[in-house]
């Protein structure tokens, strides 16, 4: 039965030892450990949260960037299309203008050609009339070299006048 009867001395010392241990660890031990462990757990939680948020932000930033890129591409395509359109327009306009100009130049040329033709015609006419006069004069001179011919002609002319 010795085992089942608590010994006073041991009870006393156990009480002392336990109380001392409890006071020492309760003051300097456990609170520090529990606090540190909690703090670390909080830090880790915060870190995880932070990482999650950062990932989210990164994802959204990436999505935004992609959006920008697609928009830019769209704009680029539009600009290119506009440019192409403008190019054809400009070419068309230029062509039209050029043809107009050409037509104008042609017209002017035609007018001047007409004028010079007319001038040439006139000159030619003058020339022709002068030549014919000269020829006629020469012919007349030739024919009228004799006096008889001259008188005949005068007669003839006079006749004509008389007839009239």
């Amino acid at each position: 039965m010795e085992l089942f009867t608590p010994d006073f001395g041991l009870v006393f010392w156990m009480f002392v030892a336990f109380l001392l241990l409890f006071l020492v660890l309760g003051k300097w031990g456990w609170p520090v450990i529990v606090k540190s462990m909690n703090e670390r757990a909080d830090t880790i939680d915060k870190g995880v949260e932070y990482a999650r948020e950062a990932k989210e932000q990164l994802d959204s930033a990436r999505a935004e960037a992609e959006k920008f890129v697609t928009e830019a591409q769209k704009q680029q395509a539009e600009i290119l299309r506009d440019a192409a359109k403008m190019k054809t327009q400009i070419i068309e306009e230029a062509r039209k203008e050029a043809s107009e100009e050409a037509k104008k130049v042609m017209d002017a040329a035609k007018v001047s050609i007409e004028q010079s033709r007319k001038e040439a015609e006139l000159q030619f006419r003058n020339e022709v009339s002068r030549f014919s006069l000269e020829i006629a004069e020469k012919m007349v001179r030739n024919q009228l070299a004799s006096d008889a011919a001259q008188t005949q002609l005068v007669d003839k002319l006079l006749n004509e006048i008389e007839k009239n």
């Binding site: 085992l3 009870v11 030892a17 336990f18 409890f22 020492v24 660890l25 031990g29 529990v34």
Partner: protein, 440 residues
């Protein structure tokens, strides 16, 4: 395939080698046994004495491989007239050489001796009583008159063990004994201090680590400590007490680590360990009383209401206070169960190991083969038991802490929890009913 078959082959090889070693051990023991048997035949192996010696306390601490030498420890006693005495336990024993007449062999034995000291003209005598009602405890002795002596001797001869209440026998002479107030630093007390120092060192090393390294996580041994702390704090204390956890955590964590350290120290057979601390009812009693004090000191109005006016049909509590009786009884049985559970588990483990070892010596009477066989079997079983005791050490520390937490949790909850618990119980009931129906 070749890699997977390698392991079983290796293990078979190891098993073979182990068996071989064990066989050699058995044969060697078998040869040495006859000499022991012949010399020990005249003295019986007192199994009860051995077991109680190992489970109990002592004024000195045994040293391995030395039968008669003990590490002396201070004995602190208060004599009958109120004087305090402090002296070394080595003064209470002496080594006596016992000569066996038949074989001529000499054997050293540690025997108790009276320690006499004088103070202000008065002689004080102290002895570790053997034939007395205070066996193995220090008692103060007073010589008695011849007349009384013969009377006590006559009384003693009427008993089988010669124990007369109030008297102690020493070398054939009876003395009147007085059991002094005994605050000696015994083996158990020293082991207690060692355990407390180890716990402090372990906890403070973790604290120092945090102070020095801040947020870094400790590794190896300290990591294990932290894992245990987390296991108890988050898994038990926080889970049960919730927001009140930080208030009670120091007590409960101290309990857990102190019990665990004492349990494990008890399993180490040589010096710093070997004291059967948690298998001593004084230790577990103090621990249980602590939980009792915390539980009832911190008990809320709700807790006391549940005891004196519980939520049961009126005829169960009035006019006959049946429930009150049960509840008040329950206040005391809870810590008592704590005390006995830890004590019985740890003492049981120690006892089984000792019995298994003493089996070898009991079987010595039956010859060499019996000793050899029993040695092998005993050692194997002892090994298994000690491994089991390591597990039990942890489980019992955990169970004590968990139950203490639950008792405290029940005492400090302020009424809202009980409804929740009831709901939970109903849920469990309905689930069980469902299960029953399904099994039918």
């Amino acid at each position: 395939m070749s890699t997977t078959t390698g392991f079983p082959y290796a293990s078979i090889d190891i098993m073979k080698r182990l068996l071989y070693i064990l066989a050699v051990l058995a044969v060697a023991l078998g040869y040495s046994a006859p000499s022991y048997a012949s010399s020990g035949s005249d003295e019986e192996v007192d199994v009860k004495e051995i077991i109680f010696h190992h489970l109990g306390d002592g004024y000195g601490w045994e040293v391995p491989f030395a039968h008669v030498y003990r590490i002396p420890l201070p004995v602190i006693v208060r004599a009958e007239d109120g004087q305090w005495f402090c002296f070394s336990s080595s003064k209470l024993t002496e080594v006596e050489v016992i000569r066996n007449e038949e074989t001529g062999k000499e054997k050293e034995e540690l025997v108790p001796v009276v320690y006499e000291t004088e103070r202000s003209g008065k002689t004080y005598r102290f002895l570790i009583a053997h034939v007395s009602t205070h066996k193995n405890k220090v008692v103060e002795l007073f010589p008695i008159s011849d007349e009384e002596q013969s009377k006590v001797a006559a009384d003693a001869s009427a008993t089988t063990d010669g124990v007369v209440s109030g008297y102690a026998e020493y070398k054939g002479i009876y003395y009147r004994e007085y059991k002094p107030v005994d605050l000696s630093i015994t083996k158990n007390v020293l082991a207690l201090f060692i355990a407390a120092i180890i716990v402090t060192a372990m906890v403070m090393s973790v604290v120092r680590f945090y102070r020095k390294n801040g947020m870094k996580a400790p590794r190896k041994g300290m990591g294990f400590m932290e894992m245990l702390i987390g296991f108890i704090y988050d898994g038990v204390i926080k889970a049960t007490l919730g927001a009140k956890a930080p208030k009670y955590a120091p007590y409960l964590l101290t309990c857990f680590f102190f019990i665990l350290t004492m349990n494990l120290l008890g399993l180490i057979v040589i010096f710093p360990g070997g004291a059967n601390l948690t298998g001593n009812i004084a230790i577990t009693l103090v621990l249980a009383v602590m939980t009792f004090i915390v539980t009832n000191m911190m008990g809320t109005k709700h807790y006391w209401k549940e005891i004196f006016w519980p939520d049961v049909p009126i005829w169960l509590k009035c006019p006959l206070p049946i429930m009150q009786l049960i509840e008040v009884f329950g206040i005391f049985t809870k810590p008592a169960a704590l005390c006995v559970r830890l004590f019985a588990n740890m003492m049981g483990g120690h006892m089984v190991v000792i019995v298994l070892i003493t089996l070898i010596f009991i079987f010595a009477a039956f010859g060499a083969a019996a000793v050899g066989g029993s040695a092998v079997v005993s050692v194997l079983f002892t090994f298994f038991m000690l491994a089991l005791d390591v597990l039990v050490s942890f489980i019992q520390a955990y169970v004590f802490t968990m139950l203490s937490t639950m008792f405290i949790g029940m005492a400090v909850e302020d009424g809202h929890g009980s409804e929740h618990a009831k709901e939970e119980a109903e849920q469990i009931d309905s689930l069980e009913n469902k299960l029953e129906k399904q099994t039918k």
